[in-house]
């Protein structure tokens, strides 16, 4: 498999605190990869290092090309980052959120809006509603739809299950998986809920204090004694 996203010895710090101590990981074309770990292990920072919202060093490549610059440049290069905690514009309407999702693209976006309405049928009738008034699950889906509007090469999801009902979480992951199967969308997902993440991802990395502790296929990780005890709880 050819690598779409490659991180090599990536470090990041918040002030004096080293959050990433040399992360090396890879997401292949059309692959879903999960990043697991406890709070503070550096999962979110890994995504932020990729999107350029935190100061980082080390090599990050997208489709073989060095990825640099701020988040604007990363978005333009084809990475859609759905940050933790409902990445929507609360004061703008649902439709405006979708329009913003396609900001980096030129040309018409009508067909993309229709495509999103096929995945999330409720989007059409709620188009004029303020995003902030949607329920938590709807906001997470809107954030996902908004990210897809940019026709990304890679989708990065940060804790999509956070604070949502199990049924909604399953629905979100079902859609992510179908997008992956039908459209070959590559996904890098950070998740606390290891069970659901390993169910949807092909491979996963487990982070501990800013380093990759274990890496492997989801099946291997499910069998791994320490992963099972620490993250799956059985």
């Amino acid at each position: 498999m050819t690598a779409l996203l490659e991180l090599e010895g990536v470090e990041a710090r918040y002030g004096q605190v080293r959050a990433l101590r040399g992360i090396t990981l890879e997401v292949g074309e059309g692959e879903i990869v999960a990043v697991l770990g406890a709070n503070g292990a550096g999962k979110t920072t890994t995504l932020r290092a990729v999107s350029g919202t935190v100061r980082r060093s080390g090599a990050i490549r997208l489709a073989g090309r060095a990825l640099g610059g701020g988040p604007e440049a990363v978005a333009k290069a084809g990475i859609a980052h759905v940050p933790e905690g409902r990445g929507t514009f609360a004061e703008l309407t649902v439709t405006e959120n979708l329009r913003l999702g396609a900001y980096t693209r030129r040309g018409k976006i009508d067909t993309d809006v229709e495509r999103m309405a096929a995945w999330f049928p409720w989007l059409t009738e709620r188009g004029d509603q303020q995003a902030g008034t949607l329920s938590g699950g709807e906001q997470q889906m809107l954030a996902l739809a908004r990210a897809l509007m940019s026709r990304p090469k890679l989708l990065m999801l940060d804790e999509p299950s956070l604070g949502l009902a199990p049924l909604v979480v399953r629905e979100i992951f079902r859609i992510v998986r179908e997008l992956n199967e039908q459209e070959g969308l590559a996904v890098l997902v950070v998740e606390q809920d290891a069970r659901i993440a390993l169910a949807v991802a092909e491979r996963a990395y487990v982070l501990e204090v800013g380093e990759v502790a274990v890496a492997g296929t989801s099946a291997d990780l499910r069998e791994n004694e320490s992963v099972r005890r620490s993250y799956l709880g059985y």
Binding site: P71, K76, Y103
Partner: protein, 294 residues
């Protein structure tokens, strides 16, 4: 009764000017989170450019105005990039102090460049009056009302239907998120400052024919614009304009019919409006509390 209507129309005309400048304040407040105390001085500066072009260089009015607007946009953009952006990340107070410094700087610069003498600026509208159902209404007042309302509608359409307008709103309401979708936030905030300065230039050009142009021309107007913006809700573009029109009419009627107010107590009346709104309805008439579910 005819006098009443005349007073209402001329109140709407000055209210339109307050509204335009209030809208400039609202734009910058939404973009940068501060009140731009230099807004009035910036508007006066623009008006001086218009005056120089028409008086000293013999430009016809409309091309001169168009050029002035373009220069004002560039000037506002430049002010944001050069003096506001470096302090934007810090406390609000730092930006406020920078805008006050800018006020003093521009005021001094205008006195230095154009001297403190009063100048007169022509109006693009005839000074005649027309008769509407027995009420004599000045064409200049109508023109002022038309321009200010037209500008507001144009701006509303721009924010609602264009990609840049949407990006501007995104950058103002949620900069971190806006960057993630690829919006260049500092650039957009600069465009916001540019647009606000353009609005100020329009307010200045509409004000100048009725008073005289001097470096302090817009200072009183800025107070009225504050009152209008606070009345309408400091984050509401529609509120700024409605607030401006209401204030213009109310002050004009107060000055006409309540003897002791006259022309002298208009400014204190505007300050009373600010105080009353802040005490009893801090969000203003159109202010929205942000609705957010978690």
């Amino acid at each position: 009764m005819a006098n009443f209507f005349q007073q209402v129309v001329s109140g709407l005309a000055s209210g339109g000017i307050y509204g335009a400048l209030a809208l400039a304040l609202v734009l910058i407040h939404r973009a940068t989170g501060v009140i731009n105390f230099a807004q009035g001085e910036m508007a006066t500066f623009s008006t001086y450019i218009l005056w120089t072009l028409t008086q000293n260089h013999g430009w016809p009015y409309w091309p001169a105005l168009a050029f002035t607007l373009a220069v004002s946009f560039a000037g506002g953009f430049g002010v944001h990039q050069v003096v506001v952006r470096p302090v934007e990340r810090g406390s609000v107070l730092r930006v406020v102090i920078v805008t006050i410094g800018l006020l003093l700087l521009l005021n001094g610069a205008m006195t230095w460049i154009w001297s403190g003498e009063v100048r007169s600026v022509h109006s693009p509208f005839p000074t005649r009056t027309i008769d509407v159902g027995g009420v004599a209404i000045s064409i200049q007042d109508l023109g002022t009302i038309g321009v200010s309302i037209g500008v507001v509608i144009l701006l509303g359409l721009f924010f609602r239907f264009t990609k840049v307008g949407l990006a501007l709103r995104a950058a103002a309401t949620n900069p971190a998120e806006a960057r993630l979708v690829g919006v260049r936030v500092p650039l957009m905030l600069g465009v916001g400052w540019g647009l606000a300065t353009m609005l100020g230039a329009i307010a200045g050009a509409l004000t100048a024919p009725t008073v005289f142009l001097d470096p302090n021309m817009m200072q009183a107007v800025l107070i009225y614009a504050f009152a209008a913006a606070v009345l309408g809700g400091i984050d509401s573009p529609v509120g700024a304009v409605v607030g401006g029109l209401l204030l213009g009419v109310a002050l004009n009627l107060l000055g006409t019919y309540i003897d002791f107010v006259g022309a002298d107590l208009r400014l204190p009346a505007a300050l009373a409006v600010i105080l009353a709104v802040l005490l009893f309805r801090p969000a203003g008439l159109f202010g929205q509390r942000v609705v957010r579910r978690v």
